[in-house]
């Protein structure tokens, strides 16, 4: 991270601009909510806006736009495990352990009986 006074002063202007942009995006999120979109579309829009806001905080306020390799490495691992965590609900829905499967409960095929 640059720490000479000139780049810090330049950074201050950026922090204020990002702060203002975050306010604007918050207003947009609430305004979109007032339109009463269909739930799937509302979720998509809200999460896209939240992701944009989150990226702004991470890259500018947390200085992730210019960090060292070790921090990026730790964060890539975190993101990978976070994605797995977010996929868990999907795995739960797909889980069929304990449920009778269609194959097991189907009546035996004609040809299979003839084979005995």
């Amino acid at each position: 991270m640059h720490s000479d006074p000139a780049s810090i002063k330049q950074g201050i202007r950026k922090y204020l601009m990002i702060g203002a942009a975050l306010y604007v995006f918050t207003v947009i999120t609430v305004a979109v909510n007032q339109v009463h979109l269909a739930v799937p579309l509302a979720i998509t829009v809200a999460l896209i806006v939240a992701t944009i806001k989150g990226s702004m905080v991470a890259t500018v306020f947390m200085h992730l736009s210019h960090e060292k390799r070790w921090i990026y490495g730790a964060l890539i691992l975190t993101v990978a495990f976070f994605i797995v965590l977010m996929c868990l609900p999907g795995f739960t829905v797909m889980d069929t352990i304990g449920r009778p499967s269609a194959w097991a409960s189907a009546p035996p095929a004609h040809g299979a009986e003839a084979g005995h």
């Binding site: 006074p5 002063k9 609430v30 905080v57």
Partner: protein, 194 residues
């Protein structure tokens, strides 16, 4: 014996130990909140109906504004130290502390309103996950306030002895604080709007 690499960077990582330490801590925090977000998805996907408009959107929006404002003042507190302006740093850090306090007061009124109507975490699945997520987030706000109070109080003496180390401490506190703000940025839409 002094703790090594508090200011100077390690030759292998190119980072001061505290910087890598706080990022690893934040990585564990991502997993903690991630588990709860995942729980939210399971509960919501598995429910027949999900309440909408149960929470006060405007109060949630005000709290979002407060936390964003506190993130700006926090980064300004760090930038002021980099510009060797300790007086300004203290004002910005105090502003961050006060904004965090206002956030908690708003949350208190929100919680009190729910409890007055008998709507505790036991009332519904939605309120159970709402209180869990916002309660944990609130605890993180309290944690941040404790550290800020230390940096405003007895911890400020370090600036005279070792200004670079003090600046690093403020930077690490700031990273934590921005993470708390980031979590709220996702909590606000999923709990208040969707």
């Amino acid at each position: 014996m002094d703790i090594p690499y508090t200011v100077e960077t390690r030759p292998d990582t190119g980072l001061a130990n505290g910087k890598l330490g706080i990022w690893l801590f934040l990585a564990s925090e991502v997993m903690l909140f991630g588990a709860l977000f995942s729980t939210y998805v399971i509960l919501r996907a598995g429910s027949v109906t999900w309440p909408r408009g149960e929470l006060n959107v405007w109060l949630g929006m005000v709290n979002t504004f407060i936390l964003i404002g506190s993130s700006v003042t926090m980064v300004m507190a760090w930038a002021s130290l980099k510009l060797h302006d300790f007086g300004k740093h203290r004002w910005y850090l105090l502003a961050t502390f006060v904004l965090a306090g206002i956030f908690l007061v708003n949350k208190y009124f929100e919680y009190a309103d729910h409890f007055a109507r008998g709507e505790g975490p036991w009332h519904s699945t939605f309120l159970a996950i709402y209180f869990t997520l916002t309660g944990l987030h609130g605890l993180h706000i309290v944690g941040g306030m404790v550290v800020m109070a230390y940096l405003l109080g007895p911890g400020a003496k370090l600036y005279k002895r070792n200004p670079d180390q003090f600046t690093n401490r403020v930077e690490y506190t700031g990273l934590y604080w921005h993470f708390v703000d980031l979590v709220w940025i996702f909590l606000f839409p999923i709990l208040y709007l969707l």
